[in-house]
């Protein structure tokens, strides 16, 4: 193109966004090729938070590794713990008591709310709305307080153990959950008032970062991003675990697969999670909280894969046992890592400001991407 007839030789501007950038949600580095402010391509450079979690697993006993999974997706630590425990329980053929399953459902749904709240706050902040983040953190704090009262930690909870639970619920657990649900539903209405109809918000999110159902399936994208593209796929319904089949809830979907639809899907998921929590708390059965697991846990030789619907998408754990106390190999299928692949496709042709919105809308946690 650059011939002698052109007076001005135009080049692509390469902009290095991150790893120290306010809105790459941690240490993601994106190399943007820009034409003016238009994005021609986006390359992700990952690995700044790599800690070799999968390798650590090979040097720990099954019980010892449980706290490490919390540190992958640290905003949804409970979901991570659940996925790992389910995989190991399948491997060892352990029966989990009803009560433990029910408490697990309550805590994972609370954690889904906490994770989505963090997403909403930071996503809104990326788009320039300063206030929702503080409201979201206030609500998240209430969830964390329930976690703290239940298991003694707020973020990296280590709430579940292989075979069930370590801690019995505390005295006011049911009351706290109900109080939170009632209070939180009003707060969701408030967020919707603040953002859903706001013309700036709609303008910033509608038609931005479209990923249709076909592309989602090609990339293996799961979670709210997939559901926003109109695919009704939720592992809680598709292959129920932990007794999710007992609860009555809907899978919110949208049609266009743009940033606004993903926002709507997650806002609906807040309400669905509240529904599940209410049902689970009301139907909390009595009984033991831990199945029979020997202190020196040696699963039989074999392998197991279990996946759950984490807040960010399908979270799978693949565990191979050689009959010893330590896993022979452990592999994680992190939703953030898989979903992040679609960034380039979503970014092409949009503006720099949209890249920020799109990174926010995929809802990645770098701890999970890099592991």
């Amino acid at each position: 193109m650059a011939t002698s007839t052109t007076f001005l030789d135009t080049n692509e501007l390469v902009l290095n966004m991150g790893p120290q950038h306010p809105s790459t949600h941690g240490v993601l580095r994106v190399i943007l090729k820009l034409d003016g402010e238009k994005v021609m391509g986006a390359d992700c450079v990952i690995g700044y938070l790599h800690r070799g979690v999968e390798k650590i697993a090979e040097n720990r006993t099954y019980q010892q590794f449980a706290p490490y999974v919390d540190r992958m997706d640290y905003v949804a630590a409970v979901s991570n713990g659940l996925g790992y425990c389910l995989a190991v329980e399948t491997l060892g053929g352990i029966e989990v008591p009803e009560r433990a399953q029910c408490v697990r459902v309550i805590l994972t749904e609370l954690n889904r709310i906490a994770s989505h709240l963090l997403w909403l706050g930071t996503h809104a902040l990326d788009i320039g709305a300063m206030t929702p983040v503080f409201y979201c953190f206030r609500e998240r704090e209430e969830v964390l307080k329930i976690f703290e009262k239940y298991c003694g930690a707020r973020l990296t909870t280590h709430a579940f153990r292989i075979g069930g639970l370590q801690y019995e619920t505390y005295d006011t657990f049911e009351k706290d959950c109900h109080a939170f649900c009632d209070w939180f539903e009003k707060k969701v209405d408030e967020y919707e008032e603040l953002l859903t109809t706001n013309r700036i918000w709609v303008g910033r999110t509608k038609g931005v970062g479209i990923l249709d159902a076909e592309a989602c399936k090609t990339y293996g994208v799961t979670g709210p991003v997939l559901r926003a593209a109109g695919v009704e796929w939720d592992l809680r319904k598709a292959q129920p675990y932990c007794g999710y089949e007992k609860y009555d809830f809907d899978i919110p979907t949208c049609a266009n697969g743009d940033t606004y639809d993903r926002y709507i899907v997650r806002m609906q998921e807040f309400r669905q999670s509240v529904r599940i929590i209410r049902q689970a708390v009301d139907s909390l059965p009595e009984g033991p909280i831990k199945g029979r697991v020997s202190k020196v846990f040696k699963p039989p030789i074999g392998e197991a894969y279990e996946s759950i619907e984490a807040p960010k998408g399908e979270l799978g754990y693949y565990v191979v046992s050689d009959g010893s106390t330590q896993p022979y190999r452990l592999r994680v299928r992190p939703p953030s890592f898989v979903n992040l692949q679609a960034l380039d496709e979503m970014c092409r042709g949009c503006l720099v400001a949209d890249v920020v919105a799109i990174i926010g809308t995929i809802d990645i946690v770098l701890g999970e991407v890099d592991r």
């Binding site: 902009l15 788009i127 320039g128 720099v352 400001a353």
Partner: protein, 392 residues
């Protein structure tokens, strides 16, 4: 002595020195007010650690900024990098020259006052562009280009709406504009059968954009281009940009108040029986309430020096309230009081808007400017012109 007192330059020089000396402090406290109001909107407390209720925070900030290492990027254009914040601050402070703080207190009453302010505020943009360009950083460059485009598009509706108001006021002098509102007995925003309200609203929206405030803060959108044009600035140079920004906010709020909302006039300036309640009772009540608040704060804080500061503040507030009770002094300062009161309301609205809305995207910003604000302001100009033609 007589000679000096009669010198026509005496009052302007004193006023200028006063503004230049006092405004940096005022800007510091504007920042504190902004942080406090934003915190309040966001269920937080804001700065609380320096002084009672964070009252000394601006001083601590200024001190820190002065002590910071002075960094000039190696690849920058040094002289321009050095000069850009100076230019910004200089133009922003110069615009104060024609702002009518009250009927007595102003630097100059130029017969083209409003033109002067518009010229100065557009010149201020040059500082941002130069600063962004000379930093030789990609984020700064993007920020600078954004600010250039934004200013070009938003000066136009700003100009159109101002012209509409000037048509009603029939003068360009800032004092004259206020005087005409006194003569007509109605603020320009509510004149012309309420039709002037449209240009007033457009003016405020364009003013938010002109001062690079959220939701139009694209030149410094921190989530996209880090800090925009001042990414590479630190220390006192950065503080100068900040000073310029707050000065231009004050100026643009001052224009809005003068041109559309009656300047230093009290509300219902021509309704005689409101004179005492609004001009005497209201300020006294206001300052007594603030003073009582400070006194309550003095009781609440624990440390001795914090108690002293709050106590002195409370006393000062009661003293000011007392001053308003003296008719002679009241007459001197009441115009100033109303002007500041209105400006503060506008600044509050600016902060409130910042705390609520998401940021526009670059192309949407252009759309709002060219597709909505300019046609509306032009329409407002034409309609108001026709109405004026047939009523006068």
């Amino acid at each position: 002595m007589e000679e000096i007192l009669d010198n026509p330059y005496l009052q302007p020089i004193i006023a200028t020195l006063l503004i230049v000396a006092v405004f940096p402090l005022v800007a510091g406290y504007m920042v504190l007010a902004e942080r406090k109001v934003l915190a309040d909107l966001q269920v937080r407390l804001g700065p609380m650690r320096v002084g009672p209720y964070g009252f000394l925070q601006p001083l601590a900030d200024a001190f820190k900024l002065m002590l910071k290492e002075d960094i000039i990027p190696a690849a920058s254009d040094k002289w321009i990098f050095w000069g850009a914040p100076v230019l910004s601050t200089f133009t922003a402070l110069t615009a104060f020259a024609v702002i009518p703080f009250s009927d007595k207190f102003y630097v100059a009453d130029v017969n083209i006052g409003i033109l002067f302010i518009l010229a100065m505020s557009s010149l201020g943009i040059l500082g941002l562009i130069l600063g962004g360009w000379s930093s030789n950083s990609k984020y700064s460059l993007l920020g600078a280009l954004r600010s250039a485009a934004q200013m070009v598009s938003y000066e136009v509706p700003l100009g159109f709406t101002t012209v509409t108001a000037l048509m009603v006021a029939e003068t360009l002098s800032m004092q004259g504009i206020v005087q005409s509102q006194l003569d007509k007995g109605v603020w320009i925003a509510f004149s012309n059968y309420g039709l002037m309200l449209v240009p007033a609203v457009v003016f405020i929206i364009a003013a938010v954009a002109e001062t690079n405030r959220a939701p139009f803060d694209l030149p410094e959108a921190e989530s996209e281009i880090v800090a925009g044009f001042h990414t590479e600035y630190s220390g006192f140079r950065w503080a100068l940009f900040f000073l310029a920004e707050y000065a231009s906010i004050f100026v643009i709020c001052g224009i809005a108040v003068t041109v559309f909302f009656g300047g230093w006039l009290r509300p219902f300036a021509n309704v005689g029986f409101l004179e005492t309640p609004l001009n005497v009772a209201f300020p006294i009540l206001l300052f007594v309430v603030i003073g009582a608040g400070c006194a309550l704060g003095a009781v609440r804080v624990t440390l001795a020096y914090e108690k002293a500061i709050m106590g002195v503040l409370a006393l000062a507030m009661f003293l000011v309230a007392g001053l308003f009770a003296i008719p002679m002094i009241n007459e001197l300062i009441i115009g100033f009081f109303w002007f500041l009161f209105k400006v503060l309301i506008f600044i509050y609205v600016f902060i409130w808007v910042r705390g609520t809305f998401p940021r526009f995207r670059y192309d949407q910003l252009m759309q709002v400017g060219w597709k909505y604000l300019i046609p509306i302001s032009m329409g407002g100009l034409i309609v108001n012109g026709i109405v004026l033609l047939f009523t006068s």
